[in-house]
Amino acid sequence: MPDNTVSIPIRQRPTQFAGQPLADCAPKTINSLYLHIPFCAHKCHYCDFYSLVDRQDRQEAFLNRLIEELRAVAPLAGPLDTVFVGGGTPTLLATHLWGRLGAALHQFFDICDETTEFTVECNPETASESLFHSLRHAGVNRLSVGMQSFNRTHLKTLEREHNPENVPRTFEQARCVGIANISGDLIFAIPGQTLDDWDQDLDQAMSLGLNHLSAYNLTYEPATAMTARLETGQFTPCPEELEIEMFNHAAARLANDNFERYEVSNYAQPGHACRHNLAYWRQHDWLACGPSASGHAAGHRWKNIGRLDTYLNNTQNGFAPITDHEEPDPARAVRESIMTGLRLAEGLDKSLVLLQSENALTGSAARLESEIRQANEEGLLTDTQSRLVLTERGILFADGLAGRLMTCVL
């Protein structure tokens, strides 16, 4: 799973390293690992994740440094429940380097094909049989394919350079090597896209035999080419009404194939929800390696510095230089669990949230309860079976509502 770009002052010597937050962690307690591979063949216009347009010459150096970092963090990892390799374009990493990465992972960590969900993000354009072989050999058992759309016009609008016709082949190749667990990403509300177009994208995706789908409403992130083009009037954005129709249509259409919306933008057949992402949303701990990867452990949050050369040239006993370090703060932790938990179909454990909130900030539980009651009256939230769950309408207003509830613990 990719991480966002951080901007850091150029050429400033880093002073903080991941060893600092991780010093608070007990050994063998963290069960998720995220790796960031910062290479791309081309920067898609909607993307704000940290990536460098392919630098083959840096791949080897990067991998050496990554392995050094993995070695440093490994003592904190228990048996790994999930591994997620995001980017960038992880499948752009050379086949032989994947071999070395796999070997290192297995050397340092407790990874088991039966119990570890090991996902790699994949650009269909980079797929090849030999690559999939080395992925599988490295332990990969789940693929997340960036399909985005099957419509060439819309892919062009996104400046996403892949040939939609290659997508089915990617699935075949993956299955051939034994990676059966495949997820796909789609984007909707692309300028010019109709509800019909969107329906066709969903149909095509379903025909590939996925068991998991992420359907993202196109977001105009600051400082992306897409946003610049929007602001200079190069296209008309999708009307809000249509966005909502598309959003609702996805849920209805995917339900036909026994997909449940388990998070705002994520759908899965029973038993196939992405466990790695659930770890994020349930506020579990995870280790993070590679430039710009974000970690969360023992109440700390931090982010590896995003510049590749800073990452390559700075190490502290193998740990990566970090930025945006946040010390443990129980109230913040409650706010974060509200923010991510509300987005899940399973919602939040009401009494647990109230308890944690009151422990973190006296008087906050009462405020929270009253806000919950009000949201309930507004038809945004239900609290059946002692869980707080957004209603259909509530999902559309998840941010505002999360903000209101978080405010109670601020």
Binding site: M1, P2, D3, N4, Y34, Y216, N217, L218, T219, E240, E241, E243, I244, F247, V264, S265, N277, Y280, W281, W286, A288, S292, A293, S294, G295, H296, R301, K303, D324, E326, R332, R335, E336, M339, T340, R343, I395, L396, F397, A398, D399, G400, A402, G403, R404, M406, T407, L410
Partner: protein, 608 residues
Amino acid sequence: MDRNLIRNFSIIAHIDHGKSTLADRLLQATKAVSDRESKAQLLDSMDLERERGITIKASAVTVMHMHNGQNYMLNFIDTPGHVDFGYEVSRALKACEGALLVVDASQGVEAQTVVNAYLAVEQDLEMIPVLNKIDLPGARPDEIAMEVEQVLGLPAEDCISVSAKTGVGIPELLDAICEILPPPSPPKSDKTRVLIFDAIYDDYRGVMLYCRVFDGRLKVGDKIRMMGMERTFLVTEIGKNTPKPVKVKEVGPGETCYVVAAIKTLGDVRIGDTITLDNNPADELLAGYEPAKQMVFCDFYPATTADKKGGDIEEMREAIEKLAINDASFTYQAVHSEALGFGFRCGFLGLLHMDIIQERLEREFNLELVQTAPTVSYEIVVRGKGGELTEREVHNPADLPDMGSVVEIREPICKVEIMLAKEYIGDVMKLCLDRRGVYKSQVYVSDTREMFNFEIPLAELIYDFYDKLKGLTSGYGTMDYEVVRYQADQLVKVDILINGEPVEALSLITHREKSEARGRVLLQRLRKQIDRHQFEIPLQAAIGGKIIARETIKAYRKDVTAKCYGGDVTRKRKLLEKQKKGKDRMKSIGSVNIPQEAFMSVLDVGEG
């Protein structure tokens, strides 16, 4: 000091016509300052004054000058140039017997020169017209002298041509000051009467009074009584700015000086007051003291910042109190606005005065201010329950009583002088008529220039009139105004309703004919500032329940981030928390969250 050898005078000039440079040149010529010490514009002590090229605070400088074998004492009393400071000008002029009327020999007589000259005439001052900047290639001293005669009625041949820059004509001007300007009139009694024409606060000595002695004497050690304030103090120091401060033991009739008297705060002093001796008091105050009349009002609120919940009202109170004492001509009272919290409603002599106070609060006191758009002071006539009529002053539309009881609203009308080149006459006429102006007269100034006289409501002038005038005349038109009377007109109160709820802080008083356009502009601004909500928000402008304009803020239908993964948590959390902080600064009216900026944009000057 022989009273007959004293000359007290002011210099009156339009901005940039070289008043301060001339003053400095005079100081230099009298050897009061060496060439080395002579930095530009000694008299203007505040940065702000120097930047704006105007003098805000009057100050007095005393120099000695040999003329015809006699040693004259020349007291320069600097005056604020702008008519906004008519009150300060009048106090300073009261301390004088004469004035130098300075006109730029290339620019000619400007509107401001005219208005200030009228003030000097009212005070019976002897005037010496001075044509400055004759060294400039564009100087036309002969033509400008004719303008002076045409417009001000001072004989053209009386004009003295100088260049403050090169020093040409300065000796002649000094001679004229000694010969033409009259000495102070003889004292009317030996009971001490001293006019306070200015006061400043000095960090080391406390309050320093700037004074002019009319009758009797004042000595160090005297117990003095402020006749108006009825307070007594002990004089600890008397001195003169030469311009360096020089202590003296005593002063007599006709002299100017500063006085230190262990006065702790400027609140103990009223400018315009008369000082007498406690043990031998004078019978009555010096005449002519008029309290300043505030014509323009606006509110100041401490700006709330993201990290500081609500600005510091106490800090602001301290600053305003300090400033008010330094500038007796602005008023303030604590207010509470439903939109902006606690603040102060301040009254000013005019728009420039308002700008200056705002800038001083920000610069000298490091305050961050939220300033509302100016309004004028209205007189309203209200019919009581028993049918009796009462009159009162209102300078905030929100303070208007139920409009059913309001019989009449009267607004201040200004006499406006506009000086401009002939080719702009048509456009400027149109502007004046647009602003409900009434044409009064036109004066021939020269072959290329005219002076107009219009009567325009002050409420129309404070809406970017000056900017518009400058725009229409390529920057060359000048104007000045003074309020001449209050007059009833078709004035109405426009209510603004957000989601059906009237918002008092946004209501305005305007002319009926302009109400719809003003209302619409206001609603359009409001619409841009208020975020969409989960419901549609009607914005309406209404006069007494009748809707005259309407805008709508569409409901938003969706507020949910598509992606929220491990690396997004911190950024996203901060974003949501920031929204909340933003909400702290918002006012909720009719379940609509209205940001402070919305109030500001609406209250902003100008018609958009």
